[in-house]
Subunit: 219 residues, 2 copies
DNA sequence: CACTGTGAATGCATTCACAGCG
DNA sequence: CGCTGTGAATGCATTCACAGTG
């Protein structure tokens, strides 16, 4: 199990999460068995890829019938670490984006609970947003440690992102999602994921190519 | 140039955007030349990777000195299609997340301008957010066509995501960013990128492993 | 029969390592 | 020198294709 955990390719890990979600839907619809082909069709993947990914988790398929939905879902949740367990999350930066994340119900449903929120704006400190009291930024590492925060989410300006990130790490946080458009330096023991919409847009712009360009109005 | 465009590996395209941003910073700091080694250090990449990526754009380095910051930045912006040009963006779903994206200044700075916003809530229709008037959802494809929207951003609930996506495509949009936790079916001519925070969190949970788990309180 | 699970083959992306250049 | 640009080598991820199974 432990050795298995680290042998799953990174790309597959992300898809395991997709499978788990889709299996939840199927289960709610009363579907008991699903083939790799149909599961793949629902998610835009090939049947071969589905089988390969699922093979990392174990052997849950039945020849000629497919995968038992509930059983596979349980196995995936366990592998992903979201089964019967709560992950504590800290949010740094309660601006527009941070507030939107706090308000999103989907996370709690999957076992991710905001326990800490901080902001550098004194006017925001003390406010209660979605049941979480906003604390001042300088308390971040202490609060992270006290609440045993597992995951930190950064929605702060680029200029302060590295500093805030360091505080999370000082508070024992070993997994971070960064929304700031900046590169963060973290030790190898810390897992970092960047969500950068500007980069997504620019990648799309690249593929759109040079068609139908309109001049930017000169200021 | 055209043939070059489609021969750049997808993974490199995303990094080109990183390079462009970092070069902007360096330029503002008055740096005139930068080596692949130092550029890589600033972004958490190896020098070899930086050189390989930049080689897809052209030969802009000078032996023994590195890359001329301004010249390289211009070349990258041109390649990415963000030079002297505006890309029209439509937002579908003006909830918490959608509002946060509308309010974010970073996009406009890089040439992405929201020209259309729609929401299915009649109470929101007519409101002006960040200078954009919210229109009713059923007008999406018509508005997308009229404003020649290039990129659509979906911040709607999963259940309606496919329908709204289809309307964007019907309106001529060929690039879409999807924030809904759902798989979207699009024709091969449409470029789709998914931003799914729940999946990021679950991937992190996987890597955090089984240490320090706390039981979810039974309801 | 309809399916899985997986070796083997392929296709990408990254890294190595070095010739070549100012 | 110090650095780029790039063939060649390596390392991952995906896809093929089929033996094996209930």
């Amino acid at each position: 199990m432990k050795s298995l955990r680290h042998s799953i390719p990174e790309a597959s890990v992300e898809r395991l999460s997709l499978y788990a979600r889709e299996l939840g839907r199927l289960d709610r619809q009363g579907v008991a068995f699903i083939s790799s082909k149909r599961l793949g069709e629902a998610l835009g993947l090939t049947d071969a890829q589905v089988r390969r990914d699922l093979s990392y988790v174990g052997q849950f398929g039945k020849s000629g019938r497919g995968y038992e939905v509930q059983r596979l879902q349980t196995a995936l949740s366990r592998t992903l670490g979201i089964e019967g367990r709560v992950w504590s999350v800290a949010l740094a930066g309660v601006g527009n984006l941070g507030s939107a994340l706090l308000a999103y119900r989907g996370f709690q449903e999957r076992g991710f609970v905001f326990r800490v929120a901080v902001d550098s704006d004194p006017a925001k400190v003390g406010q209660v947003v979605q049941g979480v009291t906003i604390a001042p930024s300088h308390q971040l590492s202490e609060l992270a440690r006290r609440h045993q925060v597992h995951i930190g989410i950064l929605t702060v300006p680029s200029e302060t992102a590295q500093r805030v990130c360091d505080q999370l790490i000082a508070g024992g946080v070993r997994a971070i999602v960064n929304f700031a458009p900046a590169h963060l330096d973290v030790p190898a023991s810390v897992r970092l994921r960047n969500m950068d919409l500007a980069i997504e847009l620019e990648a799309l712009a690249f593929y759109l190519g040079t068609e139908q360009p309109r001049r930017r109005p000169t200021p």
